[in-house]
Symmetry: C2
Subunit: 455 residues, 2 copies
C-alpha cells in the first residue's frame, strides 16, 4: 500500500522518462518504460503529454498494445487525433484489435475522408459493423453498445453451450458476464448468467436455464436512461433489442459508469452557469469560448435587476443604508434558491423524472421557504432594528428577506420541474433563471416596502 504522495511521485517519474523518450524518438526505450503498466495507466500518461507528443507514443507501440491504450484515452483528449496521422493500414490494424464500441467511438469524430481511408483497410465484416454502429446517436443505447456478445441457440444444452462459448469467445475483446439465448434467428429469448451456466449440469437445455432479462433497451434509448436500468437491476450488461425483438448488442456496466460520470460533470457545470460541453481539462481559450456566452446571458438578466434598483433610485437616495442591505437579501435568496434547485435536480436525475407529485415537491419547498425565511428574516430584522433603532425598518427588512426566501425556495423547485415537463434538460440555465428571480424579487420587496412605509 503506497501513499497518494508516493504514487504521485512515481507517476511524475514515469512521465519524465516517457517525455525523454519522446524527445529522442527512442521507441524501444518508450516501450520499456511503459512495459508492465496497465493500458489504462499508459493512457493516463499519454493524456498528460503535450498534444504534439502524443501521436508518436501510439505510433511506437505494437498494434495490440496501441489498441488497448487508445480504448482508455478519455474522449475529451480527442483520441481520434492519435490515429488520424497513422498510415491507414496501421490505423486499421489497431481498430481491428479493439472492442467494436471503442473502435466506433474513434471513427466517429474523424473527417469523412480519414474515416473512409481507414475503413477501406478493414476486413469487410468489421467495416460493416463499425459503420452500422456509427448510425446511432452517440448518446443513445445504440451509440454506446457493443455488438460483441455470446448468443446461443435455445436448443443447445449447457455442455454444448460451453463448447460453443469457447468458439465464440476467442475473437472477442469485451469481457462477458452472461450468454444471450436466441430463437428464430436472432430474437432474444432469455439470458443465462455465466455463473449459472458453469454451475448447471451439462445435459440441462439452455431453454430451461434461460431467464427473462429484467430489462432490455431499444437502441434509441437515451444513454442516461440505459445507465439507470443497469443500476436499478444491478445488471453487468443489458441487451439492446430492436422493435422486432432482434438482439442488436449489449451495453456493459463500465460504459454505463462512464455515462454516469459524464452526466455528472454536465449537471455540475450547468448548475454553475457554464457550458456542459466545457472540457474540464481543456485549455484557457476553450474555456473562454464556453463560459463567455453564459456570462453575457447573466449580464442581460443582471440588467433587469439593475433596472429595478434604478427605478427606486429616489428611495436609496433618501435611505442609503438600503444599499448595504440589498446584496445581503439578494445573496441569501440566491443561496436558498440554489439549495432548492440542487435538491430538485438531483431528485429528477436519480428517479429519471419525478415519481411523486409535483404539487408535493412544491409544497415541501414552500414550507422550507416559510420556515427558513422566518428564521433568517428574524435575525436580519433584529440587526436592522438595533442598527437603525427603528422598528419599522426592522420589519421591512424582515419582510423582504422572508418573502425573498419563499420566492427562492419555490423558484428553485418549479423552474427545473417546468423545464423537465416541457422536455428540456432541467439543469440547463436553471441557476441563471433562479438567481434572476431572487435578485429581482429581493430588490423589489426591499425597496418597494421601504418606499411604501419608510419614506
Amino acid at each position: 500500500v503506497t501513499t497518494p504522495e508516493e504514487r504521485a511521485a512515481a507517476r511524475e517519474e514515469q512521465l519524465e522518462q516517457l517525455r525523454a523518450c519522446v524527445a529522442e524518438r527512442a521507441a524501444e526505450r518508450a516501450g520499456d518504460c511503459l512495459a508492465g503498466l496497465h493500458p489504462s495507466d499508459v493512457a493516463d500518461l499519454v493524456e498528460d503529454l503535450e498534444e504534439e507528443e502524443r501521436p508518436w507514443v501510439i505510433a511506437s507501440l505494437p498494434p495490440a498494445r496501441a489498441a488497448e491504450v487508445l480504448a482508455e484515452i478519455e474522449p475529451d483528449r480527442a483520441p481520434e487525433r492519435l490515429i488520424e496521422p497513422l498510415p491507414p493500414d496501421r490505423g486499421a490494424a489497431i481498430l481491428a484489435r479493439m472492442a467494436d464500441d471503442d473502435a466506433a467511438d474513434l471513427l466517429g469524430p474523424l473527417s469523412a475522408e480519414a474515416r473512409e481511408r481507414i475503413v477501406a483497410s478493414l476486413p469487410s465484416t468489421r467495416a460493416r459493423t463499425l459503420l452500422s454502429l456509427l448510425r446511432y446517436d452517440e448518446e443513445s443505447a445504440g451509440g454506446i453498445m457493443t455488438t460483441e456478445l455470446v448468443a446461443l441457440a435455445a436448443g443447445l444444452n449447457a455442455g454444448e453451450a460451453i463448447e460453443e462459448l469457447r468458439r465464440q469467445a476467442h475473437d472477442q475483446h469485451e469481457p462477458f458476464y452472461s450468454v444471450f439465448v436466441t430463437e428464430d434467428g436472432g430474437r432474444l429469448a432469455g439470458i443465462v448468467g455465466l455463473r449459472d451456466l458453469v454451475l448447471a449440469a451439462p445435459e440441462v437445455p439452455l431453454r430451461e436455464l434461460a431467464e427473462e432479462p429484467p430489462a432490455t433497451v431499444p437502441p434509441e434509448l437515451d444513454q442516461e436512461e440505459v445507465a439507470r436500468q443497469l443500476r436499478q437491476y444491478r445488471l453487468p450488461d443489458v441487451p439492446v433489442v430492436s422493435a422486432e425483438g432482434l438482439l442488436l448488442g449489449r451495453v456493459t456496466w463500465d460504459d454505463a459508469m462512464e455515462v454516469v460520470e459524464e452526466e455528472q460533470t454536465e449537471d455540475v457545470l450547468r448548475l454553475s452557469g457554464t457550458d456542459p460541453d466545457e472540457q474540464v481539462r481543456g485549455g484557457w481559450g476553450h474555456a473562454v469560448r464556453t463560459r463567455l456566452p453564459w456570462l453575457l446571458v447573466n449580464l442581460a438578466t443582471g440588467a433587469l435587476a439593475a433596472l429595478i434598483v434604478y427605478l427606486f433610485e429616489n428611495t436609496i437616495d433618501q435611505l442609503v443604508v438600503l444599499a448595504a442591505i440589498m446584496p445581503v437579501i439578494a445573496g441569501l435568496g440566491g443561496n436558498a434558491g440554489t439549495q432548492s434547485l440542487a435538491v430538485t435536480i438531483r431528485r429528477l436525475a436519480m428517479e429519471g423524472g419525478l415519481r411523486t407529485g409535483r404539487a408535493q415537491v412544491a409544497l415541501k419547498e414552500l414550507l422550507v421557504g416559510l420556515a427558513n425565511g422566518a428564521a433568517v428574516g428574524l435575525v436580519i430584522g433584529v440587526v436592522g432594528l438595533l442598527w437603525q433603532g427603528d422598528m419599522t425598518f426592522g420589519l421591512v427588512v424582515l419582510a423582504a428577506m422572508w418573502g425573498n426566501l419563499v420566492v427562492a425556495s419555490l423558484a428553485g423547485a418549479l423552474v427545473p420541474i417546468v423545464l423537465d415537463r416541457i422536455g428540456a434538460d432541467p439543469a440547463v440555465a436553471s441557476a441563471v433563471f433562479v438567481t434572476t428571480f431572487t435578485d429581482i424579487a429581493g430588490f423589489f420587496l426591499l425597496l418597494g416596502l421601504a418606499t411604501a412605509v419608510l419614506l
Copy 2:
C-alpha cells in the same frame, strides 16, 4: 417498448393496488399484486408508500423475497426501520438470505439492543461475519465490501476449480465475475476471470491461469477511491486485501456505481451551498434543519459585503446610480467564480487530486479571467459611458468588472485546490467562500474606484 408516460401510469396503478392491500392488511393480495415484479421495482413501490405503511409490506412477504426487496431500498429511505419491528427470528431469517454487505448495511443503523436481538438469532458464523463488517468505516472499502467470493487454492487445475466453484457458489447471494486464487492459507496470489476459467482446458493449473490483479485495495481506503480504481481498470470487482496480503473480501461494480451516485449528489449539494447529508427525498422539516445553518453562514459572510458597502455610504449618496451597478458586478463575479469552481472541482473529483501542476491550473484561470473580464467589462463599460455620458464613469465600471472577474476566476480555482491540499473536501463551502470573495472584491473595486476618481 412503452413510453415513459405509459410506464408512469402503470406504476401509479400498481401503487394504488398496493395501498389498497395495505389498508385492508390483505397479505395474499399484496403478494399477488407484487408477484412477477423485480425486487428492485417492488422496493421502488415500497419507497413511495407512506412511512407507516412500509413495514407491513415487508412483514407480509416470505423471508427470501423480503431479503431481495430490502437490499434494493435506498439508504435514504431507512430500510433498517422496516426490519426493526419484526420478531427477531424473522428479522434474522431475512438477514440470513441477504448478501452480507447488504445485511451489514441494515444492521449498522439499528440501536445496539435491536441489533443484538437480531444477531442473537443468526447462525454464529453469519453473526461473526456481519459484526466484523460493521467494524469498518461505512464509507471505506471494508464498509462496502462483501466477504462472499470464490477463493480457490493455487494448486487446483481448471477442471477441479469448476467442481469446487459449484460447491462454494451455492450459498452465495452476490453474483461473481472472477475467482480469487490464494496461497499459504489466504494470501491473494492472483485472479482468474470466470470467462478464462470456462475457456481453459481442464488440466491447466490455476497457478498458470492466474493473473496479477490490476488493482487491490486496503480495507481503509475511501470508497470514492475504490470506485475510481474499478472504473480506471474496468474491473467488475476488486479484491480487498489486508496489509499482510490476506484476502478479506471484494467490492463489486454495482456498489461502486452507488458510491459514484452518492458522491455526485454530495458534490452538487455542497456546490449549491447546502448540506451534503440532505436527503433528496426527505421531508420539509429535515430540509430546514440541513439548509438553515448554511444560510446563516451566508448571512455572516454577507454581512462582510454589506460592511464594505456601508463604508462607502457617502459615495453612494453622491452617485446613487452606483447602487444599480453594484449587483451586476457582484453577480457576474459570482457566476465567473462558480464556473471556475465547478470545473476545478470536477477535475479534482475525476482525477482523484490534481495530476497536473497547481500553477498550471491557476495560470489557465488567470487567463480566462483576463479574457472574459475584458469582454464583459467592455460591454458594461460602454453601457455605462452611454448611460451617464461620462468616459471616466465608463472606465470605472469597466475596471471594476474586469478586476472582479479576474479575482473570481482565480478564487474559483484556488479555493478548492487549497482545501484539497490541506485534506478537506474541495467542494465543501467552496461556493460560499468564492461568492464572498467576489462580492467583497466587486463592491470594493467599484466603490473604491468611484470614490477615488469620480467624486
